[in-house]
């Protein structure tokens, strides 16, 4: 999966002159109107009734990111809950495009949420590292892509996934096993279709043209014979940022033609860049992101420079209060401050002027520094042997 990059201009862009936003796997620009995005993509909002059903089926409170609307859209999540109620299995699939050594906080979002889902449902999880995609799109050697896969896998494992239920795979190593499904998908999709969905053109390399089949293949359970044998009746739920949806619209279009189940999806909003809530955090622009390797000083400097919805002076702030909507530090707190009451209290006080920007930033800095420290400790315990174990095809408990 990908989150950076520029070319090619997607047809999504052409389709959406109205709200000026571009959302595709390689580019997120403009001010994203998530309501409009749901309409444009044809997905379904996660509403209160679905959240209530989710809590009833899992017997647990919904994740804060569902309740706070950060995971805001889905496809066929109800069908997955039906299966759970029927006592039938499903599995989770998510991924990462390993384009550098270090992850930033935005990268955590799908994985933290996926771990929550894995724990809530006790189901197997497959994680695709699209090192092949990064090679095809970026100026990176294959050797570096393979190294990034292992380094990023350490960060992912550090989040706490259960090795008995989790298979992480590098496309560079695993593509052969998925090849029958990749071919079946490729045979169903024309050059015109990938041009339409992803905006590929004649000057794009041929690897890009066929890559969507490689991201689609893990949506079908028989792509993992060591886990599911040749079964094709085990549905897949994909937690991902909304920019990955085009891959899975294509996948869902292809599935019935192959006699396969359509994967279900839950979509997150984008994790905002430091420079402003309408920009997505990017690993290729180090200034736009807080990394899981940043020091306290780096985090402090970055957060203090982050785009604020507070007023220019303490006096004005006390008088008029902050605009939470555009305040990046407050947005980050909505992602990572788990205590609902504390978050509400900060929001109320900050919006009403009882709290200053510096105080909010201080709370966030302490929170992020603490998270980085805990993450680095957990990551340090992830040995090369553990990475190899997670990357080894094997049976999973399900």
């Amino acid at each position: 999966m990908s989150e950076e990059n520029k070319e090619p201009v997607s047809v999504e862009q052409a389709q959406d002159v109205a709200d000026q936003s571009v959302v595709n796997p390689w580019e997120v620009t403009g001010i994203v109107d998530y309501g409009k995005l749901i309409e444009r993509f044809g997905s379904t909002p996660i509403d209160d009734a679905l959240i209530a059903r989710f809590e009833k089926v899992t017997g647990k409170p919904a994740h804060i990111w569902i309740r706070r609307g950060l995971f805001f859209s889905h496809r066929d999540l109800n069908e997955v809950l039906d299966k759970v109620e029927q006592g039938k299995p499903f599995y989770l699939y998510t991924g990462r495009g390993p384009s550098s050594d270090a992850l930033h906080f935005g990268h955590l979002v799908p994985f933290v949420f996926t771990k929550y889902l894995q724990d809530a449902f006790n189901v197997p999880l497959v994680i695709q590292m699209t090192d092949d995609e990064k090679f095809l799109w970026k100026n990176i050697t294959l050797e570096d892509c393979a190294r990034y896969t292992r380094e990023n896998a350490k960060d992912i494992i550090a989040i706490g996934f259960d090795i008995n239920k989790t298979f992480i795979f590098s496309n560079l190593e695993y593509v052969g096993t998925m090849y029958p499904n990749i071919l079946r998908i490729q045979k169903c999709v024309t050059g015109n279709q990938v041009s339409g969905i992803f905006g590929f053109g004649g000057s794009d390399n041929i690897g890009k043209h066929s890559f969507p089949a490689i991201q689609a293949a893990p949506s079908f359970s028989n792509s993992f014979p060591h886990i599911f044998g040749d079964r094709v009746d085990i549905p897949c739920l994909i937690p991902c940022a909304i920019d990955q949806d085009p891959y899975f619209r294509m996948t869902r279009d292809v599935a019935p033609r192959l006699g396969y189940l359509k994967p279900a999806l839950v979509h997150s909003k984008f994790f905002p860049a430091l420079q402003g809530y309408q920009t997505k955090m990017s690993a290729s622009s180090t200034d736009s992101a807080v990394f899981l390797t940043d020091t306290r000083e780096q985090i402090k400097t970055k957060i203090n420079q982050a785009f604020s919805g507070g007023r220019d002076t303490a006096e004005l702030q006390r008088q008029f209060g902050a605009n939470l909507e555009v305040d990046v530090p407050y947005r980050y707190l909505t992602f990572f401050l788990e205590d609902d009451e504390k978050l509400k209290d900060i929001g109320d006080k900050y919006a009403s002027g009882k709290m200053l920007t510096g105080e909010v930033k201080k709370i966030l800095i302490d929170l992020l520094v603490d998270m980085v420290q805990r993450h680095q400790e957990a990551r340090a315990a992830v040995t090369e042997d553990i990475v190899t174990a997670f990357l080894t095809p094997r049976k999973l408990a399900f």
Copy 2:
């Protein structure tokens, strides 16, 4: 590798209104002027000087198919002979598109010639079974493609390849190992380029667009780590019919950009269909071909119906003689009657009217029946275990 099929119309067609022939991996139609084809493709004729050098380097007489001009064109064969003289290694690469259970006599040509080259040079050989290609282009299930690979492999093994020097591989099984090279090649080739070389359009599936990289990859020695490790300095010689040349023009264009050696080639003419020397024998048209599974009766019927250059009556034939140029049975004899003197004698007598069509056909029928019988005996000795052994990645002697 492929030899049947229709769509898509190649640019070769557009380029060659002059001689009306179409020659690409999926279509050979029209009357092929091989001299013009060499000009069009930019290859080099195999001339007497090269044949003499070939015999000097190998210390053996050139194969009858070289001497008789059936292998008529090459790229960089001199460079391969240079390596041999320097005592440096090279390897052979050829292939087969397994689109049905049974091979015909035309399919034997590249393999019989390749075996001759393997024996003459004592070098390793890799044989690609493009079951993935057949799935993408034809209405065949993956399961059948995989089965055809093993069935066709039995015929290939029956030709007598040395298991210590020969690796046969199914793309369905082996693509993962070649994936790094496949990606490197894909990254160098644009959609526009495969449209230009192969005629693919927007309505072709995306698997077709990226497939040329899969046929290209075995041209580079590091695609076979179990044989050559990570060495990229071992040149490759590809014996194939001239219709496969577009793949390797593309490969030779890409090679220097990857720091790899360009593969060398030797090209054969097409094995003619029973209906006429200007049509290529095709496995999808059972009437056009003599199969290695045909009975004596089937062979007799087919050859007796084959297009003849003889006269309509015995009297006219005795008076005017046959036109050897268009006579399909005589053409087949030039492929399979090894005895030069006997062939010349038949040719002289048939052309001058001393021999009748029926007599020539009888000689051919006996020859083919004998070949089929010997082939079937050899094939019957090829067990499933032997097939599996040939298909297993392992070290080869070189």
